[in-house]
């Protein structure tokens, strides 16, 4: 049994605000506050006594974030089927809506709270392959490989067949009859995928997007992208997904973008793509030199990339992708859920020089450099998190983690079972990360509104908890704006939200930012809120810097913009509990860049850090009564990353 203790923080970070705020102003006509004397007249200006009759008047900005997952696999994905997933898209949507389902391992599963949206993104290559093989498709069985796998599965060697299938696919050695776009089996799988989304989509309550994953894995290097439709099934069923196996498909993202352009033109649909797991791409996710032709990326690449890929999946089960200690040596929070042993199948080990082209922060920095060179920033993307779970279950809370594959659903030994193993390296089950979700500031919960918010990058990534994060940038935010009773209104009035742009700096002004974060109402308190700045120096070299902008527990932020004191740790690993006796429930502040140079390109994004909490491994150890080896991490510090705001001179 898991017991969590919640207590309200007793610490005041802004003690000056705490003093004297309370004046019995209901009776008196004016009052002195720490932000000046407020008389009746100015109060009326600030707060018109009577709101307009229509409750929605003047309220066309998003008022709450919607939480979801842009990346979930079901049994329709070849590899998921191989690892024993039985739940299809229909079950996946039911689970995300908050219904209880029976997981593939036979256990009952339910989310703590429903999600607001979900994209079932099964692999486009071999979509529907498993149902076809298991059904004894005559064409497949006529091939030696197909026959062999079928016989293996039928004689209880399913696991062996599964591995062989995945490896054969990786080498591009699939048998004739393998479902490809245009074949009846493929069409039927795609149609079922669409139908499941159409059925689950419930505008205003739950959004079920139509989508798939284009799984480019050239040489085991992860260049995967998920493709999402804004539209309904009528448009999505006019095409079949783009695959990576030639001749119909291609592993080169340029070809995916061509296909996207063609699809939009041919069907009138609107689609977007988002990549993930640069950490397993071995230096190829955010290239300066394109891996496919060995040339420096050109304007055409940059234009297409930024047009089709407005977002990037910054955190998920296969590790966190914000930054790496090698790239950010002065960032003590950089070493988070790191997967840096090699590429996706561990056939090639990682070299330090690859890292720069794999992580969010360095890509954003290189984007500034490329923009100076090409006139277009290819890496101007917003951030989301998602699961990439292959179980049909979008379950990544630390105390409710259903793993990456159906064979890593909760069990006593999943932590110590190798997740990927090659002759070069091993990644253990415990290294999988219970992460993440996508938060989208949309005006309503519909496909159109959420998609549009994704396009304008008004999104942030969380590693699982549903914290609320606001981030606005402008030229006129003042510290009193942090005391405004309508932070969103002032934010949208005076600035641009996350994902937006600032340019033409007024003379003598530096950009200022309104930043606010609320903890997950059932989650842990917040340790601190940070702004990460990246810029392109006069010398053409990129730079980065971390600023603490709000810290909990009365700690001080030094003149260098940092608070080096740790928030502490209340985690009781043995019992998998923690208390909210440290940290803060909510934080709001205005921060002005103290080192601004109007001549230099820059970006700013927010990172919110939670206080330490038990990691999923601690919940496993407690529940199963097992002892895990010392190298297994048992605590975590969950976090959120917002989309950047860019400054362009």
């Amino acid at each position: 049994m898991v017991i969590r203790l919640y207590t309200i923080s007793r610490f005041a970070i802004v003690s000056t605000l705490a003093a004297g705020v309370l004046v019995t102003a209901a009776i008196a006509e004016d009052a002195t506050t720490d932000i000046g004397t407020l008389d009746k007249e100015s109060a009326e200006k600030a707060f018109p006594a009577k709101p307009p009759y229509s409750p929605y008047a003047g309220r066309n900005f998003p008022t709450r974030p919607y939480f979801g997952d842009t990346h979930l696999h079901t049994s329709y994905s070849m590899d998921a089927g191989a690892f024993g997933a039985r739940l299809g898209p229909k079950d996946a949507y039911r689970f995300a809506r908050g219904e209880e389902v029976i997981a593939s391992s036979g256990q009952r599963a339910k989310l703590s709270r429903p999600l607001d949206f979900l994209v079932v993104a099964d692999h486009s290559d071999g979509m529907g392959f498993f149902p076809q093989l298991l059904g004894g498709d005559a064409a497949l069985l006529a091939t030696p490989q197909g026959r062999k796998w079928y016989d293996e599965i039928n004689s209880g060697k399913g696991a062996q067949a599964a591995l062989d299938i995945v490896v054969s696919f990786g080498k591009g050695q699939m048998p004739k009859g393998f479902p490809t776009p245009g074949t009846p089996a493929y069409r039927s799988a795609w149609r079922e995928t669409i139908m499941a989304a159409e059925e689950a989509n419930d505008p205003g309550r739950f959004t079920a997007f139509i989508g798939y994953e284009w799984t480019s894995n050239d040489g085991g290097n992860n260049l995967h992208r998920n493709v999402i439709w804004r539209d309904n099934g009528a448009k999505a069923s006019l095409v079949e997904p783009y695959t990576t196996l030639p001749p119909l498909g291609s592993p080169n993202p340029r070809d995916l973008w061509k296909w996207m352009a063609m699809t939009e033109e041919k069907t009138g649909a609107e689609i977007l793509a988002l990549a993930h797991n640069g950490n397993l791409s071995n230096g190829r996710m955010f290239p300066i030199i394109e891996s496919f032709n060995g040339k420096r990326i050109d304007r055409e690449y940059a234009e297409n990339r930024v047009r089709w890929e407005p977002l990037y999946e910054a955190t998920q089960i296969k590790g966190d992708g914000e930054t790496h200690p090698f790239l950010s040596p002065n960032d003590e929070f950089a070493n988070y859920e790191r997967w840096d042993k090699g590429n996706l199948d561990l056939t090639e080990v990682k070299k330090p020089e690859m890292l720069e082209f794999e992580y969010v922060r360095s890509a954003l920095k290189n984007g500034l450099k490329m923009e100076a060179e090409l006139g277009v920033n290819p890496y101007k993307f917003g951030l989301v998190g998602s699961t990439d779970s292959h179980t049909g279950l979008t379950a990544v809370e630390e105390d409710n983690f259903f793993g990456k594959t159906s064979s890593s659903e909760p069990s006593a030994d999943r932590a110590m079972h190798p997740f990927i193993k090659s002759d070069k390296a091993v990644i253990m089950g415990w290294e999988t990360t219970a992460s993440g979700y996508a938060a989208v500031w949309a005006t309503e919960n519909t496909r159109e509104a959420i998609f549009d918010a994704m396009k304008r990058r008004e999104t942030y990534a969380t590693t699982g908890p549903r914290m609320v994060v606001r981030f606005f940038g402008g030229w006129d935010f003042e510290s009193s704006d942090a005391n405004n009773r309508m932070p969103a209104k002032i934010g949208y009035t005076k600035g641009v939200p996350m994902g937006g742009d600032l340019s033409s700096a007024p003379t003598g002004k530096a950009p200022s930012f309104l930043v606010a974060a609320l903890k997950d109402p059932i989650g842990a308190n917040l340790d601190r809120v940070q702004i990460i700045k990246g810029w392109l120096g006069k010398d053409g070299q990129t730079q980065e810097r971390v600023y603490d902008v709000a810290v909990s527990g009365g700690r001080q932020i030094a003149s260098d913009g940092r608070s080096k004191t740790s928030v502490g740790n209340t985690v009781d690993v043995a019992n998998a509990t923690w208390t909210n006796t440290i940290g803060a429930g909510e934080m709001i502040t205005v921060w002005k860049d103290p080192d601004f140079d109007p001549a230099l390109r820059a970006f700013y994004y927010v990172r919110v850090i939670e206080i330490p909490t038990p990691r999923w491994t601690a919940y496993d150890a407690k529940y199963y009564g097992i002892k895990l080896p010392n190298e297994v991490r048992m605590t975590t510090t969950e976090r959120a990353y917002t989309s950047p705001i860019w400054y362009t001179p």
Binding site: S9, A25, T63, R64, G135, S407, R485, K489
Partner: protein
């Protein structure tokens, strides 16, 4: 043509049935002796358990093993039924037809489009599934636990006194702290309120009387005084407004029910004997 096999749970049973073909041939002798008797032998249980262990790299728990045995029985029953109907005969195409025919038994019902009357009945008999939640329009005075620290309790009492004397729906703008999501919440559903403020908060605010300041209601962020402007009670939607959702739930319920019925019917014809599993396996699984 619609190919329903992809989402048909029956498929999984039947596929497993095919996968266990070799095993069934072992059972065939017993079939001849007692065609409506199914014996799940101890050695078979061990085989099932081993197969599970090979796939999952651990022994099944008691519950899982029970599930596997139930699956086997189900496989066996469907498989025998299919054969008894003469639908087998060697080649793979026929085998697939057998499977499809069995699926169609359930799918026939599943494929039926529900009538308005059926949907209306379903809506009435499952009101909780479709109820339109209470929606609340309210504004608040928020006292931040973080900003006020140990002064929170005293400040809360003071605000309570101030607001008790206030008849106006607008609060004095000088009291309270900013809240990230603002102070006004319009037509917010109970589940949205719960997502934002927590479950305990929604229970409390749902019971306050509209038209005056009340509180404090605690949340994990601090103390909230609320003025509920309007509380729209939950209501049962008309079928027209929720037709798609009712249809989805109806179909799902039908699917589950059809499978259950079919299985129950078939199962009744069988006498099932499950032998006790070997002791060693039991303790292995229990560990």
């Amino acid at each position: 043509m619609k190919l329903p096999f992809l989402r048909e749970p029956l498929l999984h049973f039947l596929v497993l049935g095919a996968a266990l073909f070799g095993l069934f041939s072992m059972l065939e002798k017993k079939d001849a002796e007692a065609p409506t008797k199914i014996v799940i032998s101890a050695s078979h249980i061990a085989t099932v358990s081993d197969r599970f262990a090979r796939t999952w790299r651990r022994a099944p728990t008691d519950q899982e093993l029970q599930g596997l045995i139930e699956d086997d029985i189900r496989d066996e029953i469907f498989y025998r039924e299919g054969r008894a109907a003469g639908l087998d005969r060697d080649d793979i195409v026929i085998r697939r037809r057998v499977r499809q025919k069995m699926e169609f038994l359930a799918e026939d019902i599943d494929g039926t489009e529900p009538s308005d009357e059926q949907l209306a009945t379903y809506l009435v008999s499952n009101p909780e599934l479709f109820r339109i939640e209470d929606r609340l329009t309210f504004h608040q005075v928020f006292l931040s636990a973080n900003r006020r620290g140990s002064a929170l309790e005293g400040d809360t009492q003071q605000v309570a006194r101030v607001l008790a004397q206030t008849t106006s729906s607008t609060s004095p703008p000088t009291i309270g702290d900013p809240f990230l999501l603002g102070d006004e919440f319009r037509a917010m559903s109970q589940s949205d309120i719960a997502h934002t403020f927590g479950e305990a908060f929604v229970r409390q605010i749902s019971s306050v009387e509209p038209g005056r300041w009340q509180g404090p209601i605690p949340s994990s962020f601090g103390a909230h005084f609320v003025f509920v402007d309007e509380h729209l009670s939950s209501k049962q939607p008309s079928l027209d407004t929720v037709r798609e959702a009712v249809k989805r739930e109806w179909m799902n319920a039908r699917r589950v029910e059809a499978e259950r019925k079919l299985y129950d019917q078939l199962r009744q014809r069988y006498q099932v004997v499950v032998e006790t599993q070997p002791k060693a396996t039991a303790s292995e699984a229990g560990r």
